[in-house]
Symmetry: C2
Subunit: 425 residues, 2 copies
């Protein structure tokens, strides 16, 4: 745990650096996986699954029976929770639908935008210790609301060839059309090129380890879009004397448990809250089952004392955190000063886990400073907006001269002629 008391602004930039990611080594591995999948399709996938998951499969396709059984395997309590979360996520994302608004820019010239779903979308859900069925909700719900006609999901099986039932249940519930047992860069390659079993898609969503991240970047070379570039998860908490150290510590730890490369930053403007939060972290850490992850990631993390909330927000905008928790008094006054962040949690009771699971906002957010130039996933991520225009004869009379002059000045006389020939007629 590294602490900084009133660092000078010249030192800030260094404090906004994320733990380094090794990229170069990955690209050869990913390229080889892509080539194998492109040329050998399902056969290559089954070999990779044997190699990486130690599972011996005959097909990557999840059967209807497996999906039906999954529903029986999970508790009623969990089903109810998933349904409630689905309701809230649906409510928030459905409100993002945009009405068609026709604008008459000039008399007789009407322009507007209409949304159309990205027809084929693919969702990647990592395996590992934590079965991220919540991410299934966060990606499949807006995909279904947008009207994507094909929503597929890839996730790695365990050694026995099974997928966590909560993932299958959530996928079925949220309209995923087909589910496949394959993980890692090979899953991304399969959704890029298509195989005998897995269809190719136009856009790939979802988190993953460094191989998956690298594979998603690589997939773009083949015309596939991705949700956003990714990095390890992170939170920045800003506290003043109004904040509650127990809560701050719990939020910092909930981020830290994601993995040893997660980063948490704590900024306080009050010395006492600063010290107590650090003490609370040590207390709470001992009780956590994933405390080896959390302990590691706390080593990458910064605890900073600053003079004012304004200064803290200036730092936060430079850092551009994925999650920003603003537990300070009169937080509403500071909202306009927030420039770069993925998702913001206001006050003492808006814990990050609410947004991670069930409040309704999306948890697929820009990390690694990308909150400076990317939004999190929303309904917009699953649609294209097409512009339309209708110009009447009269409209072209009003607009024609302007177009002719500009086209001529750009030396594009066929552009001019397309107008002149109509005006003459």
């Amino acid at each position: 745990m590294r602490t900084y008391r009133y660092p000078k602004k010249t030192e800030w930039k260094e404090l906004t650096q994320r733990p380094m990611i090794q990229r170069e080594e990955l690209s050869d591995v990913v390229q080889n996986i892509f080539e194998a999948v492109q040329h050998n399709g399902d056969k290559a996938l089954l070999e990779f699954i044997k190699k990486f998951e130690q599972a011996d499969l005959e097909t990557v396709v999840v059967s209807e029976i497996e999906i039906e059984n999954a529903e029986k395997e999970i508790s009623e309590e969990l089903k109810v929770a998933i349904l409630k979360a689905k309701e809230n996520i649906t409510r928030f994302h459905a409100a993002q639908k945009s009405e068609i608004e026709k604008i008459e820019t000039v008399e007789g010239v009407t322009c507007w935008r209409e949304s159309r779903a990205i027809e084929k979308t693919g969702i990647y859900i990592p395996g590992g210790n934590a079965p991220l069925f919540s991410t299934v909700l966060m990606l499949a719900i807006p995909a279904q609301l947008a009207g994507c006609s094909e929503i597929i999901l890839c996730t790695p099986p365990d050694q026995s060839g099974n997928i966590n039932p909560a993932i299958l249940y959530a996928a079925k519930l949220c309209g995923v059309s087909r589910i496949f047992k394959v993980g890692g860069a090979q899953a991304i390659a399969a959704m890029t090129f298509g195989t005998q079993s897995i269809p190719s898609v136009y856009k790939i969503f979802g988190p993953g380890n460094q191989y998956v991240t690298s594979a998603k970047e690589y997939a773009q070379r083949f015309g596939v879009a991705i949700d956003m570039p990714a990095g390890p998860s992170e939170v920045l908490v800003i506290a003043d004397k109004n904040s509650i150290p127990e809560f701050c510590a719990a939020d910092l730890l909930s981020q830290a448990e994601h993995g040893s490369d997660s980063q948490v930053v704590f900024i306080a403007t009050d010395e006492e809250i600063f010290m107590e939060t650090i003490k609370e972290i040590e207390n709470q850490l001992k009780a956590l089952p994933r405390n080896e992850f959390a302990g590691e990631s706390l080593k990458n993390s910064y605890f900073i004392l600053l003079n004012s909330i304004e200064e803290a927000l200036e730092f936060s905008n430079l850092y551009a955190p994925e999650h920003l928790i603003l537990t300070v008094k009169s937080f509403e006054n500071y909202i306009p000063k927030i420039q770069n962040a993925g998702s913001v949690f206001l006050g003492n009771y808006s814990c990050e886990s609410a947004g991670d699971y069930a409040s309704g906002t999306n948890h697929t957010l820009p990390t690694n400073g990308f909150a400076k130039n990317y939004s999190g996933v929303s309904l917009d991520s699953f649609v294209k907006k097409i512009t339309f225009q209708h110009i009447t004869e009269n409209g072209l009379q009003n607009l024609g001269k302007t177009i002719e002059i500009m086209a001529e000045a750009e030396g594009l006389l066929a552009h001019k002629n397309a107008v002149s020939i109509r005006l003459k007629s």
Copy 2:
């Protein structure tokens, strides 16, 4: 000019292929340019300008005096036209601002999104024969509307070290903060890393040749976002017996004159209109000053007879054209069938050049089939949408159990604890 009469659906996929782009050779060149600019900054830029533009400059910075002089050099007529276009583009893009809508997903749980400008944006404008000041309008107007605090522009100078005055005038008019005389991959590298003169930016916009396209892709590895992947410009025109062959031919040629790699596709459901349009193209082509470009690009192009408008739209959705001109009768009935396109022009008087210059819609659009998964540039391209949430004590009572159950099922107990510790208090 290649004509196809009622091709079978099995042949369609081949007809949607774009002319191939060589990519591999470019990447070494681009990588070397990036390394030179990263390490030698302005010095490298001045050397590249000497090499590629044959211009001997002392600085890449465009001075205030150059900008003032530009205004004197362009005609009143062109100024008026640019101002009118600006007005329309502003009207259409200003309407894209989204209101803040707060959603109470559960009692006591309020979620919403707010837009924030991407603070630092860079615009690239190519040089060459056609001085694309219209693209300055299309990118700088929404950037200014979004509230980007820094909008810089790079464009290559001519041999005497000058920039076309219309580009300078449009840039000044639309709030570009600083203009630099540098083109090609080196301009993209400069905006990625920053140099002594040129600031680094968070997102790069604008068209360019294959080096620029490749450089923009490469820039993403360094955390910079780009507007969209690019390819040569294209139009698909759908005509029935209601269409006017003269107009269709003029629209096809206005696209073809962009460059020898542009692609135009013409689909008619009426044999007579089909033949007459082909004849008209030959007639009009002779009169065009850029007819060597247009002639070349017509060689890459397809003229297709199909049975019905429905079939034509099915083909168009597979092709996913940058521009779609639908000149058919009762075009409004076919709008819901349009799934993949960048910008759509409806009826006999909505020529593509209207949207290229002055109707108000943006002309920076997805090419090369990317209309399947990308939107064109809009106000959205210059902002991030940040999600906010405020949860009251009561709100967390309502939501808490759901979060606890889900977090526990994912094995993330610190996530659960962030809620439990609050519920207990």
